[in-house]
Amino acid sequence: MLLTKKFTKYSYFTEAFQGEGIDYWIGFPTTSPEYDPFNFLKARLEVSGIKKENASNNVALRLRQKSKQAGASDGTATEAYISIIEFNTPKALFKKK
């Protein structure tokens, strides 16, 4: 949440139900002049955590995997951000897809 607030214009967080699980969505808070009561979900936030990095499981690899899952590159996919946290160091990566 802190990274989202720091690196994007969004500070509203919520979840939505997707088949078997949930996904995270971000948008403008109700106090913002850009808030739209009928379109409050602006971008998807993909969150990933790694307990401790190693050669086969690290932030860079996870970013590559998440990036491969990107939608269409013609601008018709939803705005999306990736947040990867590694807890042991600790370190974090926050990137727009």
């Binding site: 139900f17 997707q18 088949g19 379109n39 409050f40 979900l41 086969s56 499981n57 939608g71």
Partner: protein
């Protein structure tokens, strides 16, 4: 409450409450809250029905409401919600997700044919806690198909490791607290089987979990139930999620288990990671599309610390059960064995006309039908009416144990006055009175 944001926020809060109830084992409360969550999310989506410019919110809320409808088993409403979402201008990724709901959950002919929709919510919940494995062949001789033998071997290794983990940890926790622990071990192991809750057949993906809270029967103490709730997570963590090459984790294993115990828990899993295997093993996300951990072969120094240097020396002599096929030979006229194989599991139905051992004899009004099961290396007999659960290493021994328990329970229960019986004891006494004709004279 009449704006989509408030309705959606209410829906997510209700869903969190629902999951809390499910974690506590309150299935009825979970289902009620799930229905409420669905109702609010559907209302939020329907407020945007005519607002085709409100993307991505419009299609995301319809997708979200459809997902909840599926969890509530309302598949007709789910279909309406998906088509409502598609009727707007969804972004390409959300459109694909809406179509996926239709093909995977709502219109899936396999689910419809096998009537699996009724158990859908149960599976959805268990998938959240499952280990998601993927086996990928090293050689592409058969493209991405994995050889069945490798799959079976891998699954057997996990099954074995789980059973050892369960029994060893159960004994550590309860051997001083349960005087009848030997009776309890086979019973509770059968109540906690590993379950398949999802699979995929391009390479081989499988999700495995043990249901330790929702539907496993339990007449046990709260202490045992609390222990049982966490045992599968402990297994996941100790055996798969923590790094076996991490010295901190090795020290944890050595403190918790003797070398014999850690050998029994970890050896088969380490075998599944061997360099000589013809597949790669990894953990993935729920849809098997994202690798979360690759299992590399365990180094020899680590193997020596976990499973010992010469595990083969610790293998005990194994009793075998042979299945033999015999027929009368046309040449000799005598019965000859023409095939035999080692049995790893099986079952036999037997009928007891009367119950007798040196403790006493009971004449029965009718025969008791029993089922003796074999799961190498033990034989098992369960007789729920009298809460008899016995196991032994031979067929005759398990039968003798049953008879001994039966007579002991008969003598004990029939000596208690009716007004002093508990509900379970009254039920047992009712059964015994109906089945036992009379007690015989003790031969001694």
């Amino acid at each position: 409450m009449s704006n989509p944001l408030e309705l959606h926020n209410k829906a997510t809060q209700l869903y969190k409450n629902a999951r809390e109830e499910l974690d506590k084992g309150n299935k009825a409360a979970f289902e009620e809250l799930l229905q409420d969550s669905f109702k609010y999310e559907a209302q939020a989506a329907e407020l945007l029905y005519s607002r085709h410019d409100a993307e991505p919110t419009r299609s995301v809320l319809f997708r979200s409401a459809a997902s909840l409808a599926i969890q509530c088993k309302d598949f007709s409403k789910a279909r309406i919600l998906v088509y409502s979402g598609l009727s707007g201008k969804p972004n390409t990724d959300i459109k694909a997700e809406l179509e996926y709901l239709l093909s995977e959950y709502i219109d899936n002919p396999l689910l419809i044919e096998k009537g699996q929709k009724e158990d859908f919510t149960y599976l959805l919940v268990l998938r959240d806690y499952a280990l998601n494995f993927r086996l990928q062949p090293i050689s592409l001789h058969y493209s991405h198909a994995v050889i069945v033998e490798n799959i079976l071997s891998f699954l057997q290794n996990i099954q074995f490791s789980w059973e050892q983990f369960l029994e060893i940890n159960f004994r550590k926790e309860f051997s001083l607290k349960m005087p009848d622990i030997e009776k309890m071990v086979p019973k509770f192991k059968r109540e906690l089987p590993l379950l398949f809750v999802n699979q995929k057949f391009a390479s081989f993906g499988v999700s495995i979990v043990c249901d330790t809270t929702i539907s496993s029967p339990s007449n046990y103490s709260s202490e045992f139930n609390n222990w049982k709730k966490h045992i599968f997570n402990d297994f996941k963590s100790e055996v798969f999620l923590n790094d076996l090459e991490d010295q901190n984790h090795i020290q944890f294993i050595k403190r918790k288990y003797s070398i014999e115990e850690s050998n029994q828990i970890f050896k088969k899993i380490i075998d599944s990671r061997k360099e000589s295997n013809s597949y790669h093993l990894s953990l993935t996300n729920k849809t098997y599309s994202l690798t979360e951990k690759i299992f590399r072969p365990v180094s020899k120094p680590i193997k020596d610390q976990i499973i010992g240097r010469t595990p083969e020396a610790k293998v005990e002599e194994e009793r075998l059960v042979l299945r033999q096929f015999a027929m009368v030979s046309p040449n000799s006229g005598r019965k000859e064995i023409f095939d035999q194989s080692i049995m790893r599991s099986g079952s036999w139905e037997i009928s007891l006309g009367d119950i007798e051992n040196k403790e006493g004899k009971l004449f029965l009004r009718e025969s008791i039908e029993l089922l003796i099961k074999y799961d190498a290396p033990n034989f098992y007999l369960d007789f729920d009416i009298l809460n008899i659960h016995v196991s032994a290493t031979s067929f005759q021994e398990v039968k003798d144990l049953f008879i001994s328990n039966f007579i002991s329970i008969y003598k004990s229960i029939t000596s208690i006055p009716d007004n002093s019986l508990s509900i379970d004891e009254a039920s047992m006494k009712g059964y015994l009175n109906s089945i036992v004709f009379t007690q015989g004279i003790n031969r001694e």
